[in-house]
Amino acid sequence: MPLLGAFTFPPIDEIFRWKDILFEGTPFAINKTALMVIISSIAILALMIGGSRKMKLQPGGTQNVVEMTYEFVDNGITKDVVGHDAGRYTPFLGTLFLFILFLNIWEVIPGIQFPPTSRMGIPGYLAIQTYVIYLVVGFKNQGFKYLTGHLFPPGVPKALYVLVTPIEFVQLFLVRPFSLAVRLLANMMAGHILLTALSLLTAYALSHNPGVLKVIAVGPFLLNIGVIAFEVLVAFLQAYIFTLLTAVYLGDALHPEH
């Protein structure tokens, strides 16, 4: 008698791979993931334009949401982390935050429930973008001192440079972009796998157990609802952390070590 005994999880490819819908076979093929990215971009544009078209002194509705988002990024991330003179980076950081948040939140929207950020393409691209921007800003602002300040941090005994310099080099050029991308990817991937496993367990328990034993499906079902609430938090937190780390690297590039 199978309670939850003979349940097997489908291969990972099956829950992350989508067939091409449009322009099949060309490099511009569009699948579900790409379609979701396009829809999210349009939604962000609509929200921002709708909220700032007829600005009133007393904000209401959409304008309120837009202003709150702007203030959250401007005060909480740009001014606090990058620096008080870095107001010109708010548009970049705000776009980054909204883009990741809108992509992550697909994970819990009923009927879709797939975060495009759980495919390496998007986090990978965003990480490379951040990588290029902080390196360019760093070398532009501090010149060659940006590199030497990192590789030979002041206040370290000379003999220790043998150990410190390679570590700092790997940290600056490899670990930073790699961990940015992997952090976002792995969090969304783990959430998607968890939700899939719990939903499939519920369906399995309902379809394979006779009569009263179907009650066992209540367990994974309730757990699933809890995990969905948790995933909303994770979607927001990962967007916040990605933006925050970008801001930290930017601040590091703008101002030499304190």
Binding site: S179, V182, R183, I241, L244
Partner: protein, 86 residues
């Protein structure tokens, strides 16, 4: 002939099983350190917030930063888990 086939099949199964065990150990071992680390970070952040509630905003931002850096190791383990399994 048939015994040879059987032996080959068993070897494949053995490889699959060992791979699964290895993948499990990879993730389990990778989760130990970050688990302790995140506990330390959050615990100390809460203590700091309780002592100086007026610094709450700064402490929370720094706490998330600390968590993000510590968590990265566990997530590398998570990715290695899939690499080791396939």
């Amino acid at each position: 002939m048939s015994t040879l086939l059987l032996a080959a099949q068993q070897a494949g199964e053995l490889k699959d099983g060992l791979q699964s065990i290895g993948a499990g150990i990879v993730y389990g071992a990778a989760a130990i350190g970050p688990g302790i680390g995140i506990g330390l970070v959050v615990g100390n952040a809460i203590q700091a917030m309780a002592r100086q509630p007026e610094m709450q905003g700064t402490i929370r931002t720094t706490m998330f930063l600390g968590i993000a850096f510590t968590e990265a190791l566990a997530l590398f383990g998570f990715v290695l888990f899939f690499l080791a399994k396939s």
